[in-house]
């Protein structure tokens, strides 16, 4: 009897641990964050040159995140792999705009992804419109603002008085 109860207990614990690991795994998949950069510039791929339109407006989750004229870049954060956006393209100045929904799968291992919108719209293959964004070497940071809601006492727990090296 006692033994059976113990066994059930152990089983229950193992199941809990497995469930937690499973949840963590799911979080890895659905929670992967990407920064998507939108480029609106002319691109040449295997001989075909694609010109950038006059203006592209990018909407992500119903919110306009970028308004790009030729040669400009915008960005937006995204969670997960299935990326959806809506583009509002104005081909020429003063012309009518066309709205177009685009959805695509983002590569898991890239933090920052550059999308070349003209190439994407033209239907060129992936290597033409998608590239990885590699941040420039981190410059020496300026004094960053630390936001805390508590009082501005910097203490060093367990430390002593601040003594300069004698």
């Amino acid at each position: 009897m006692e033994n059976k109860k113990k066994k059930r207990m152990i089983l229950f614990r193992i199941l809990t641990v497995l469930a937690l690991i499973a949840i963590a795994g799911v979080m890895f998949i659905i929670g992967r964050g990407h920064t998507v950069y939108f480029d609106s510039k002319a691109v040449t791929y295997e001989g075909t040159t694609v010109e950038a339109p006059y203006k592209i407006e990018v909407y992500v989750k119903g919110e306009r995140v970028a308004k790009l004229y030729e040669g400009e870049r915008g960005m937006a954060g995204w969670m997960g792999q299935n990326f959806n956006m809506e583009l509002e393209i104005t081909a020429e100045k003063g012309g009518d705009s066309v709205r177009q929904a685009v959805s695509m799968t983002l590569p898991y291992n890239m933090d920052g992804i550059i999308l070349n919108i003209p190439a994407l719209l033209k239907g060129l293959p992936e290597q033409a419109y998608l590239s990885e964004f590699i941040p420039a070497a981190v410059e020496e940071e300026a004094t960053e603002e630390v936001i805390t809601d508590e009082f501005g006492i910097t203490d060093e727990p367990g430390g002593g008085a601040e003594e300069p090296a004698p």
Partner: protein, 357 residues
């Protein structure tokens, strides 16, 4: 023959006991410091300079560590409320400067002025601790914290007006650090100072500590002193023997507070600055861990513990950064200090002790 073996065994046992008394953490710390001293010349650190630094820091801090002794003796536990004593010292220091004393006289006056504060605050503190026997250490910690944060307001509000002490713009409110140049900076250290090459010994400061330590030792052998020890080791017995437990505890707390006040003044004369506001906040912990490293426990402490402990603690504090930096180009001294000092306190708190709770 038989007797001889018996004696041998007892000797062995005694050695074992001594080792056990000494404790594993203490052994590790001593070993660590020895290792640092051995390593120092190899990694290119100048040994005499290192020793000078260690002795200097010893002379700055020893009195504050000594302040732990009376309260431990009377069974009040480790004096986490040391900031209260430090506050009295700071009041003495700032008032002495404000009244226009300079040079060595300002040091003497600082001690004299801080004494009434130490007595008054110490009496209040002692009265409080008498009401809450058994929970001294936690409450002492918070009494210290509260008094420091209360004084933060006072430093701003009290009508100090000496130009080199207050903020230049407003003309009121004390600065966070006040230079003691021209007042009592190095006043003890430079007295009878010995200089041999890179090695210099602040004899005056050491003598001052020796004087206080001797007085403490002498006091512990007076009637009141022995009563104090009795109260600490067995309060029930002490009560039965007709000792006024509360009064003895009160005396010990006042003494601790006064020594804390002197301690901070000695520290300032070495350091060269008065540090106000949040500076006294965490000053209790290094002193507490120093005396514990020296072999004291929650209810037992001696002058020897103070000397050994301060030397070991300050040795590690000064040696680690230089040796570590020269060896692996990584300054981990801060982290090591936090782990060592708090680990030591933790070790002492978990020892089963009789008498004190």
């Amino acid at each position: 023959m038989n007797e001889n073996t018996l004696e041998k065994r007892t000797f062995k046992e005694r050695a074992k006991e001594a080792l056990k008394d000494f404790g594993l953490p203490r052994l590790i710390i001593t070993g660590f410091l020895l290792l640092l001293f051995i390593l120092a010349p190899f990694v290119g650190a100048d040994l005499p300079t290192q020793i000078t630094n260690t002795i200097n820091r010893f002379s700055w801090n020893a009195v504050m560590v000594l302040a732990m002794v009376p309260m431990v003796h009377s069974g009040c536990g480790l004096n986490f409320g040391l900031p209260l004593g430090i506050i009295s010292g700071l009041l003495g220091a700032t008032l002495s400067l404000q009244f226009g004393f300079t040079g060595p006289l300002s040091f003497l006056m600082a001690i004299i002025i801080s004494t009434p504060f130490a007595v008054v605050l110490g009496s209040f503190y002692g009265w409080l601790l008498n009401k809450i026997k058994g929970g001294e250490m936690m409450i002492a910690t918070y009494v210290g914290f509260s008094s420091v944060s209360f004084m933060c307001m006072m430093w701003l509000l009290l009508p100090y007006n000496k130009p080199d002490m207050v903020w230049g713009m407003a003309g009121k409110g004390l600065r966070t650090t006040i230079s003691l140049e021209g007042y009592y900076s190095q006043v003890l250290a430079s007295f009878l100072q010995i200089n041999i090459g890179n090695l210099s010994i602040p004899v005056g400061a050491l003598l001052f500590f020796a004087l206080l330590a001797f007085l403490m030792w002498a006091f512990l052998h007076t009637k009141t002193g022995t009563a104090m020890t009795a109260v600490g080791s067995n309060p029930t017995f002490a009560k039965a023997a007709g000792i006024n437990v509360d009064k003895v505890r009160m005396i010990s707390v006042i003494m601790s507070t006064w020594l804390g006040a002197c301690g901070i003044l000695v520290y300032e004369q070495g350091f060269g600055f008065i540090q106000l506001y949040m500076a006294p906040f965490y000053m209790a912990l290094p002193a507490v861990s120093a005396i514990l490293i020296g072999g004291a426990s929650v209810n037992k402490a001696s002058i020897t513990n103070v000397i050994i402990g301060t030397f070991l603690f300050q040795g590690i504090v000064t040696m680690t950064p230089t040796v570590m930096n020269n060896m692996i180009h990584m300054d981990m001294s801060e982290v090591i200090r936090i782990i060592v000092s708090n680990g030591m306190i933790l070790y002492a708190l978990t020892r089963r002790t009789e008498g004190a709770k």
